[in-house]
């Protein structure tokens, strides 16, 4: 397949991701912003597919597009009493823009100057089986720490959500 044809899906997905991200900031309605966020997450899942990272694409769809965006919508639903509360003023401050521009320039310079090391690319894309084996053998320590982190989050959430002393 010629380069130019292979680039088409990438360009489409990248445009969807960047445009959606801009719409998250620009849309006045919080609920609309949440749906644009969902669109960004799905576009990123597509980008993972292009990189043959099937498992990551699946996780992106299930965890981010599936769970996180529903969580965002639930939060919006539970915290807003009236329909009008979902509207917010468009707050575009210069300082935030400057910081964003600075980060863009820095990361852009980094990406442009990055030279991919030749030896690293594996012959075959590792699949879900290899990923799982790695996770439960070599990566057992970080995996266990992650579960402790989740336990901490649970204890904290229960504390804050709890009512008077029982």
């Amino acid at each position: 397949m010629p380069e130019s044809v292979a680039a088409v899906p990438f360009i489409v997905l990248a445009a969807l991701a960047v445009g959606g991200a801009a719409m998250v900031i620009l849309s006045r309605n919080v609920v609309h912003a949440a749906f644009w966020l969902l669109e960004v997450m799905m576009a990123v899942a597509g980008l993972f597919m292009l990189l043959s990272a099937g498992f990551l694409a699946l996780v992106q769809m299930m965890v981010y597009a599936g769970a996180v965006s529903v969580l965002v919508l639930f939060t919006v639903m539970l915290t807003l009493r009236r329909r009008e509360d979902a509207e917010r003023p468009l707050d575009l401050s210069w300082s935030a823009g400057l910081i964003a521009l600075g980060v863009f320039v820095a990361v852009g310079a980094a990406v442009v100057s990055f030279v991919p090391p030749a030896v690293m690319a594996p012959v075959r894309t590792p699949g879900v089986t290899e990923f799982g084996t790695q996770l439960f053998t070599q990566r057992a320590l970080p995996f266990e720490i992650a579960s402790v982190v989740l336990l901490i989050a649970l204890v904290g959430a229960v504390w804050w959500a709890g009512g008077e002393d029982r």
């Binding site: 820095a106 990361v107 310079a109 980094a110 990406v111 442009v112 100057s113 990055f114 030279v115 090391p117 030896v119 690293m120 070599q138 990566r139 057992a140 320590l141 970080p142 720490i145 992650a146 402790v148 982190v149 336990l151 901490i152 989050a153 204890v155 904290g156 504390w159 804050w160 709890g162 002393d165």
Partner: protein, 457 residues
């Protein structure tokens, strides 16, 4: 001893946290049983940490304890245990203790893992495990809007810091093709500088160093003083230690490290010491003092030498002990300067111990603060950062002013409130006095401790 004993302290802390959560069921009638059992578990973990020594790497090199790590871990555990003894003695003003004790143990567990992490992913997760309990501790007064506001600010900034760190880390892993810290390779050019800058920015924010310091006074002033006592001191030892590890790996590969860290050091020292002056709330004052001390620590890291790193780890311990002690006094006897008026006549032992710790924070010989600063500033002079050392010395002298204000309130102020003196428990007063004694011991016996902080290569 078998090498797996190295990770036993983590297991004990996890067990302690779970026991603390169910303490009221396990020990019926003991309202503060969670704190007491947690203190016992932490003390046991400290003993195991001393006995296990240092040794081979575990988990394929992702976790290792060298002599310096052992010192940092043992200090963290001893301080955790002391804090929980204090909590068992003094309790909290309105809230129950058991979740507090459990979260303190979780944070300590994260700190231990952070000190021993030799892998980027383990480091990131340990950092999260150490800071996530801190969000809840800072907002532990769940009925108080100011406490929750401070906790929210802390949470948001800390999350941004984590993301910066994660982003920089992903660049480093991409360049080196391995997640092990020791295998990190930075490419020359913009990508190496940007990756290092993101990693450092994340760690600076976690250390509450400038220019990421603005959250800490608000968060500390809203939080329960007991939470500030723990969050502002104990996890910083391991945080600084992990920072030192990362600097040791990245500094030789990019020339930007020294100037970046030196700039952050100067900004932290200036902002911290000057902004502390007008404060009347001890929590705000100690927040700015914490920013200033982060600046001194960065002086050591900016040198990029082994002596500077050793001195920074030593000073992190020499700072954590009195910082925790002073905040514990504030937690028990009142968090404003007015509330501390006349403490010397009501609680002479506590007042004298506090005075000693404040003097150590200024840096008066022969206390721990003095020897720590001496090591730091000599390391800076020897590696050519003379101007940085000069600023640090001047700013230490400036800091005497605001610490003395606390002392003046304790010794020369008279209690005008007419309220009955607050009852102090023997255990909590003993912890404060023990902190003061530790300041003397660390100061006098500084050379063996500094010699113990050796890094395995």
């Amino acid at each position: 001893m078998a090498s797996w004993t190295l990770i036993v302290p983590e297991g004990l802390l996890l067990a302690g946290a779970l026991v603390a959560l169910f303490a009221e069921v396990l020990f019926p009638g003991g309202r503060r049983a969670g704190a007491w059992s947690g203190a016992a578990f932490a003390a046991l973990a400290a003993a195991v940490s001393i006995a296990a020594g240092s040794g081979a790497a575990l988990f394929g090199g992702q976790f290792a304890v060298d002599p310096a790590t052992q010192v940092a871990r043992t200090a963290t555990l001893l301080l955790t245990s002391a804090f929980l003894v204090w909590l068992g003695g003094a309790g909290l003003e309105r809230e129950r203790v058991r979740e507090f004790a459990a979260l303190v143990l979780f944070a300590s567990l994260g700190a231990l893992l952070m000190a021993a992490a030799r892998d980027w992913i383990v480091l990131l997760l340990a950092l999260e495990a150490a800071t996530m309990p801190a969000y809840v501790l800072m907002g532990f007064d769940r009925g108080d809007d100011r406490s929750l506001e401070g906790a929210l600010k802390y949470f948001l900034l800390s999350m941004v810091a984590s993301l910066l760190f994660l982003y920089g880390m992903s660049f480093v892993i991409g360049m080196s093709g391995s997640t092990l810290l020791a295998a990190s390779r930075l490419q020359p050019g913009a990508v190496g500088v940007v990756a290092a800058a993101f990693v450092f920015a994340g760690l600076l924010a976690k250390l509450s160093a400038a220019p990421f310091q603005w959250w800490s006074p608000d968060a500390y002033a809203g939080a329960p003083a007991a939470a500030v006592a723990f969050v502002s001191s104990v996890p910083k030892i391991a945080g600084l230690f992990a920072f030192a590890r990362v600097v040791a790996v990245l500094a030789p590969q990019t020339a930007a490290t020294g100037p970046l860290l030196a700039a952050a050091a100067v900004a932290s020292m200036l902002i911290g010491n000057l902004a502390a002056y007008p404060q009347t709330d001890v929590r705000r004052l100690m927040a700015y003092s914490g920013v200033a001390h982060a600046g001194y620590l960065l002086v050591g890291l900016a040198t990029g030498t082994v002596a500077g790193t050793q001195a920074a780890v030593f000073y992190a311990i020499a700072y954590a002990v009195p910082s925790m002690g002073v905040m514990l006094v504030a937690a028990q006897y009142g968090a404003t300067l007015d509330a501390l008026r006349g403490l010397a006549s009501r609680r002479p032992w506590v007042a004298w111990a506090t005075a000693l710790m404040l003097v150590s924070l200024v840096g008066v010989p022969p206390l721990a603060g003095f020897t720590g600063k001496l090591y730091l500033f000599t390391a800076a002079m020897r590696s050519g950062w003379v101007w940085l050392a000069v600023i640090a010395v001047v700013m230490s002298a400036v800091s005497a002013g605001f610490y003395l204000r606390i002392m003046r309130a304790m010794f020369f102020g008279t209690d005008e409130s007419g309220e009955a003196p607050i009852a102090g428990s023997p255990a909590s007063a003993a912890v404060v006095v023990a902190c003061a004694l530790a300041v003397i011991v660390v100061g006098v016996a500084s050379s063996p401790l500094l010699a113990a902080i050796t890094f395995a290569k």
